[in-house]
Each structure stands twice: as C-alpha cells, then as structure tokens.
Point group: C2
Chain length 416, copies 2
Amino acid sequence: MRVNIINIGDELLIGQVTNTNASWMAQQLTANGCMVTDIVCIADRREAIEKALVHSLQQADVVLITGGLGPTKDDITKKTLCDYFHSTLVEDEASLRNIERIFAGRGYPMTETNRMQALVPACCKVIVNTVGTAPCMWFETDGKTVVSMPGVPSEMKHLMSGEILPRLQKMNDGLCILQKNLIFQGIGESFLSDRIESWETALPSHIGVAYLPQHGMLRLRLTATGTDRAALQRQLEEESRKLYGLSGEYILGEDRESLQEIAAEALRRHGRTLSSAESCTGGAIASRLTAMPGASQYFKGGVVAYSNELKRQLLNVKAETLEKHGAVSEETVREMVEGVRNVCRTDFAVATTGIAGPDGGTPDKPVGTVWIGVASEKRTVTKLLHFSDQRAQVIERTCNQVFSELIKLIRESCGK
Amino acid sequence: MRVNIINIGDELLIGQVTNTNASWMAQQLTANGCMVTDIVCIADRREAIEKALVHSLQQADVVLITGGLGPTKDDITKKTLCDYFHSTLVEDEASLRNIERIFAGRGYPMTETNRMQALVPACCKVIVNTVGTAPCMWFETDGKTVVSMPGVPSEMKHLMSGEILPRLQKMNDGLCILQKNLIFQGIGESFLSDRIESWETALPSHIGVAYLPQHGMLRLRLTATGTDRAALQRQLEEESRKLYGLSGEYILGEDRESLQEIAAEALRRHGRTLSSAESCTGGAIASRLTAMPGASQYFKGGVVAYSNELKRQLLNVKAETLEKHGAVSEETVREMVEGVRNVCRTDFAVATTGIAGPDGGTPDKPVGTVWIGVASEKRTVTKLLHFSDQRAQVIERTCNQVFSELIKLIRESCGK
C-alpha cells in the first residue's frame, strides 16, 4: 500500500521546526508494511493544500495529512478539506464532549473558538483525539483514503499508534514488515559486508538488510515482509543466529537504539553499579545514562573533572602523573577511572580524557586524541582513540566507545 | 524569489533519517530573502525525481536538490538530471583534481567508481565541492535555476553557505531579510504580547514578529525585509531598544540560540569560573556547557551526585539535612550548590535536585518537582519548580531555568 505524507505548516517552510513528524511516521508506516512514496511540506495556504492533495491522490492509496488544525484563523486545513470534498461543517457531538472534558481538566474557560474545533466536514468519519482538542478526520474517496490529524507530535503519535496504523494494517491485507536490529562495534561496514557476504546472498528474497553506521557503531537492520507474523519472527531470529555465528564477537546487542541502553540493561540485570569520571566528554556520558528512566538503580553519579585540579582533588589523580604524562594520557585515565570507582564505591567505572577541539591540540597530541578507561573490581582497560572530526562528533564517538568497552567488561565479569 | 527544495534519499522515506537538511536550508533561504514554497522528499527513483522536478519548476524560480550523488549505483540523481536536460556526461577537470586531492589526503587508492564522480552533464556549470567528492551542479533552464548538491549535511552546508546562497542573494536583486532574536525568560507568550501590543501595532510593515516559546524560554524574532541592509540593521536595533524599554527585565540576551551561550559569554567576558552539582539533570548542564568550544576557560567541572552518598561525600551535604528535608529540598540544593562552589573553588556554581520521573514521585513531591540553586561568593539563590512534563522535558526545562538564574546572578554580581 502506497502512502503519501503531507505536513502542513509555515514553520516547516521557514525552517523554524525540523520535521520530526515525517521521520517518525515514515518509520512506523514502513514497519507496518506501507511504502511511503512522497513526503511533502507545504504552507498553511488553501491552494498549496489542494495542489498537494491532488498530487498525492495520484501517487498513493492513502494520504496522511498533519497540521493546520489549530483554533486560530491561520489554520485552514479543515475548511480546505471540507470544500475539497464538497461537504459542509457540522458539529460532532463526541468531539465537543472531548473538548469540554479537556478544558474542564485544565480549569480554563472554553471560548466559542474552542467550541468550533468540534466542527467537522459531514462526509468524514471522526476519530476523537483524546489527548487534544482537534479531532482527527478520516475521508474515503474513489477507493482512496485521506486522513487529517493534528501536527502536535504527541497528538499525532497517539492517533497514529492507537487508531490509524491498526486500520491501515487491516486495509493492508495483514501484510506486515518486521525488523530486527543488531548493533555491531569494532568492525567497519565493508569488512562486515565481506565477512557475511555468503549469508547475505543466501537470504530469502523477502528479507532485506541495511547497514546503518553511526558515530563509530554499526546497526545492521534485517527487514522481513510477509503476512505470517509468527513465521517472519522465527525467520528473523534464525537469520540473526547465523550472524552471531559469523561475527558474534562484534555484536554488542539487539533491538536497542543505543549502546547506553545495552549497557544499562546489563548493569540492571546483574545488579551492578556504575560511576563516571569525565573530562573531554564533559558530562555527556552521565547525561546519556540519566536521560533513561530508572538510571538511579545502577548509576551512582560521577565527576566532571574538566580541570586538572578537580582530577587531583576529587578523583585522587596524582599531581606527579599529570605533570609527567599530561592530562591526556593512559596513566591519567587509569587513575581517573580507578579513582572514581573507589570514591563512588561502584562495581564498574568509566573515564575519558582527551582533546575535543577545535583548540588545545599539540603536534604530539592533536585534536581528536582521546584516552578512555573502564574498570571493574578486577581490572582496568584503557584505550587510545584518534578522531578527525568536529567537537560534537568527538564527544559522540567517545561516548559510544566507552559504552562498548563497558559492555564488554560487564560481560567478561558477569557473563552474558 | 520562490524556492522549492527536493531532498532525495530512500532513507528519508523509511524514516531512518530525520530531514534536518530541509530545516537548515529553509532557515538560511528565508534569512536570505527567499520564500520556500515546497519541501519534497522522494526516493532514489528516476520517475520520482523527474516528477518532482517538473512539479517544482512549475511552482518556483529556483529548485534546490540534495542527495543521490554518491558513487554507488543506487544514486541516480546525476544521470536523471543529465537525461532531463538532454545532455551528456563529460569529465570535469577541476572536479577530478579535487577527488584526487581528497583521496591523496585520506591515503586511500582511488577506484574507477570514484573517478566517475567527476563526470557531469555538459550543460551545467560545476561548483567544485572542496569538502567532498561529489560536484555541485548548477543548471539554467527557461529562466529558472536548478541546483543539485550532495545530501551529506556538512557538504551541503559548505556549498550552500559559500556558493549557493551568495549567488541566490545576487539573483534576488539584493533583497535581504535580516533577523534579530531576543531571548526572554520569566514571562509567558500571551503576557508579553499584551505588554508590547502597542509597539507591535506601530511596527513598520516590513518588520515582522514571531513568538517562539521553547522549554520555558521565549525567543522573539524580528524579521526585516528590504534591500538596504544597513538601514534594516539600524531599524532592527532601534526596535529592539524599544523592547528593552518595555520589558527589558525579562530579556536575557540577544542573537544567541541558547541560554547556555549567553551564560558562557558572560562568564568569559567577566573572567569568572563556574562549577555544577547535578542530581536530576544528571550531567545535562555540564554536557551543554562543554559542548561549546572553549568551555575550559570558565567551566572547571562538577559532580553528578545522583545518589545521596555522593551528595554527602563529594559535596559535603549534611546527612542530617538529607534525612530531615530529603534530597529534593531547598536545604539540600543550597548545600549542594555551596558545597560544589567550595570544593571546586569557582566564582559561581549551579545545582539541581528533583524528580524527573516517570517514577520516584510522592504525594508531597510529585514527579516534576525540582529545586535549583545558583551561588556566588556573596549569595545563594534557590528556586522551586514544578513541571508536568515527560522526563526529557523536565531535564530540558530545568537546565534552562538554571542558566537563566545564573545569567541574572552574574549580571547582579559583575554588571551587564
């Protein structure tokens, strides 16, 4: 089933907002067996909406429209669709109740403008939007489907997940697309591809592979298309087992978005704790860990030791070490990671020290030189990294390397 | 001048990548006096590219195309454009030299496939892409312009900033759009709008205003359109001076993207230092500061005191305080911020403690309850915040509030 997405909103065309709705929708639609043909962003203008709708109905079986459903007069999607379908606006009882309920909950008085949000074209089926005031409208026309929903991301996602995707799935004759992601680290895209070439060639035609490298890690995504969900699931498991056989030593986890999720999950499963001592990553490691709910179960905290004084004072790095080897050295990162593990009394610890740039490089230690360390009770592992990227990428890649080494050390210490 | 953007790439249509190129381009084009009419994302398919091109040339004066210029066979933009313009591919000498230079720098051997990237349609003007191997191609057809450039964000940005925008600016008869951003904090959108209503009404018609609220701060963007850049600049300064007169007490800075930039700039200007003690923000404050180049000039570091032990041990928060008032309390945040300032020996310090959720709330202290503190040598300011958002937003908003209070305290201590 071919789906076109139309995102309506002036804010998209002046670049004030990045269109994250489109990527989320495209991802969900793809996972539900739909093929997204076009994504079009247009202004809140009648002619633009009409043109995009005509164009999209030529291309696709289903047109999903977001945005332009607010109560103010610059939002004209509803009126435009109503005219397009030669319909008239009528008050939808259920939507009105919903709006009243939302205003009662907020303790705000409801105005006439708010009440008008319950008006919908008589020809559409209404899906009540329980998390917002703008109703979702479902139109059918000449065997094709047009759905208009709010552009507020949380409302769009709620409606898509709860109502629209299940209906599309049904219309799609039960076709489903299942995905499985394997996260590799320590092997380049082309090396992996060489290594698993015969496996890839032997894959059944309904299973596809994508290589998704990102900041020093590599996601391999298997996508299986078919109608028998259970069988697809089994086949994906089977194929991923083969991958473990071929290159399992590089696989850090599956079906997670990030390395910190894999690390967190391992710490939680084994009931172990972690602390961090960050210089060049400046809090990025702690921040990624604590961005995940429940981080306090395994993360005790740590030190952002940006200055040498703090490395000495809070982490017990020796003045002599700093003087003799410098802040960016194996010796320093070792004392940092062991220091923070002792100070915080955790099972594991991680540390970073390096030159993220753009300034601070020397001929000996150019920008992008980074030492990382991970430590358990039994041993400390250090690693020298060289990056040739911008500051943000150096930080990002360093974090990924740290989490990779941590995952390996947890496995070594606690088992898989 | 009307501009259409076409972003080519399968990864956009399966939602693997968020289209940040489009928002960046739209922002730059708007700032350079262009009106973006449509943004279209399409697959790497010949018919899709042709259709989008025909459609865009009907709509706009200029069509900017990104993507599909890689060396592999799935990238077909160049071939499609060549056929569309009834041209043939010829080797471009300057592009070939550029590719050779890049490969020499990387120390990789150059293959025939790489060499083929120097082929371009004979009818186009080539803009050499000095940061990548795919040349940028500039076509003129029936008074309209089509530009094809790589989709790699860093290459696209380099070409847009250095080559394409200046040419479009010239074609645009020198029309320019200047913007000025004022960052407000502590006043809601509608309150500010009431307060500056008469100013807004009296604005000349070529200056527009947009209210851009974001995570507890509010950006007011003035946009001036005209041909006399110096005059527009003067007018924007004049109007913003009036805004300072009307509500200057809420203005924290101008022409910066974020509050941490304003805080960093103030610290640097006054030669002062900062440290941080973070519980609920878990390193996000330190991480935002250290994401900016040169942070080590003013940021010494800090402690991520996620556990109570670390609050006691590293920040000298009294066990008694934690027991009597709890970790999320004014007393604790006060001891944290004063503790970290003493331990790190900095001029200023900031601290956070709260319940970011989704778990950990109590009837007394529900999820979203946050205490923040900022301290100078002379005084400590604490503030209680209540948020009703998701974890990520609680962290985001807390950071913004911390930086706001810090900016105020620096101004109070050091002058503007």
